[in-house]
Symmetry: C2
Subunit: 388 residues, 2 copies
Amino acid sequence: MRDVAVIGVGLTKFGELWDKSFRELISEAGSKAIFDSGIGGLEIDAMYVGSMSSGRFIGQEHIGALVADASGFSHLNIPSTRVEGACASGGLAVREGYLSIASGLNDVVVVGGIEKMNDVSGTAATETLAMAADQEWEAFFGATFPSIYAMIATRHMHEYGTTREQLAQVAVKNHSNGALNPFAQYQREIKMEFVLNAPPVAYPLGLFDCSPVTDGAAAVVLCSLDKAKNFTDKPVKIIASGQASDSLALHGRRDICTLDSTVQAAKKAFKQANVTQKDIDLAEVHDCFTIAEICAIEDLGFMKKGEGGKAIDENITNLNGSLPVNTSGGLKSKGHPVGATGVAQIVEIVTQLRGEADKRQVKDAKIGLAHNVGGSGATCIVHILEGI
Amino acid sequence: MRDVAVIGVGLTKFGELWDKSFRELISEAGSKAIFDSGIGGLEIDAMYVGSMSSGRFIGQEHIGALVADASGFSHLNIPSTRVEGACASGGLAVREGYLSIASGLNDVVVVGGIEKMNDVSGTAATETLAMAADQEWEAFFGATFPSIYAMIATRHMHEYGTTREQLAQVAVKNHSNGALNPFAQYQREIKMEFVLNAPPVAYPLGLFDCSPVTDGAAAVVLCSLDKAKNFTDKPVKIIASGQASDSLALHGRRDICTLDSTVQAAKKAFKQANVTQKDIDLAEVHDCFTIAEICAIEDLGFMKKGEGGKAIDENITNLNGSLPVNTSGGLKSKGHPVGATGVAQIVEIVTQLRGEADKRQVKDAKIGLAHNVGGSGATCIVHILEGI
């Protein structure tokens, strides 16, 4: 397989963007990424787009073609394909773009991720998100994601002594990072008491343990490494892409506290990259709920199972800790436009590895990891990137 | 890029399948393909699934993981990814599976396509299908696909003298083929008068000019050509995969009678395969409406633009003609479960190239082409396959 690099990144502001349409968001992110990459536009061989449920959120399928069209590329007849893997749609789209270059078919590929979630009313957003769970065994009976992750959390607390405060601290940390990210939905710090006293959603998770409903888009330009130098002097190499699946419903897992898809995707990624957990300078992990970040850092192998809560207590994952996690603010504070999230994680890692993360810059960051999960863990995709 | 072969194919019966669920359909097609391929199952490196609008049709997203799960593979943590490109979702899924093997990453990949369309009530199926059109410029104003293709048809009649009878003859021919296909939704011949006197849908298209609403699934097993002989003595090589996009809405095209995405996808495919139109022994083309088949055979370059109707008159595309088209019965008679269609086309070509098409077998078929379109032509994917 050929080596592949990220040569450009682009992001819209994340938030409740009532004044921007789906088309405007994706073309804003895409054009920023293209401008950032140094390509002119005619070099683009293909486009991939991650979007979870455009059919439900905006009444539109055929998203690949829509995005090529909205971006002004339809007259070039560039192949454009949508990829869906629930909240991992963005990460999977990056992988397909990566593979299409690694195969030798394409040289330059633009990958976008997008979700416009706030245009539906009432409980429609929560109901649509629940379609990432098992409709017949979970969603149909009223199990939405807060309740599913709440079950993971209570079991984790029971099994490993993880505390309510440790969960809350994840939110506090991620808001502290998000306060430094001009693209984040919530650019403000929050205090522990605020999280603990927030309205309960599903015990032990309160309002501030849950990622928000967000509109937003992200894009990256990928290029074969050998051609990357034609466009940029700061390519970031994708040194691994690992993907795995698991049962759709939580009850099908061997252990509901362990996301085996994360364990397996990480195993593949670390093997391909030929690095270990110790080599990772920062990680963006899928903190759709606070418990999800604790599970993620364990299942990625940064510590033993059950020790994620302790790591939070020890501030290991803080911006100035030994393993900064979710420097962007994570899904919690940056926001979680589901199809965009996996691409936005890559944007953050690239920004950090280029040394362009301003007030949230991790010192001497050389290797970063992005971890994107679909549903409660039926899909996981792990990318490892290296600045060169 | 490595060479890739199809080593197994599987199909469910197409039709109104009230007694079978989405999960049952995809696992039936998948297990048939796996059994046909000679693999045991543990060799599978990845899965891809084409599905257009599972979110609208069955209230379920996260289809990649669902399919791995329903097929009994979730405990193996096999990566599984859904691909969406409206009615071209199946063809695009085949392409992603193909690229993942061509890249060198995977050796054995199962690709499925599925749509369960009859479980929604009232006009929901038509409304959901309209989401493959441009929601903001077409669907919102009531333009559904029959009306969009009717505009193409009237323009084609005006521009090239194509007749109502030529359109009807496409349906007659495809039903004649479908009558020989045990998997087809409508296994019966129809007469010209029947088509001409059918209830009008959108002039000039009547009920029998339109493909039906169908439940069904299809699957293929792909393998690197060098390893294919470990499993089968009848591999069929994928000698080209060409994809292109165009504007989502019809009004954005330079000429509404020409699907530029087909023209460009075919150009790429013929170049990659290093064959010409004359080398093609049979073609499955995207006849979602009778006019679509006429446009397809022109835009694929089998004849000059405007001469498709004449070719129908001359019986060139009949089962015993010089270029048999839609030997399976096509979308018209076999049925059109949108996400499954592109995969089912590959199943038909492989069946023919292996000489296993029974009463509808094309004599000495060596090279076949599959042409799958999304919407009114915003996405097109062309595959060319060769028996070896």
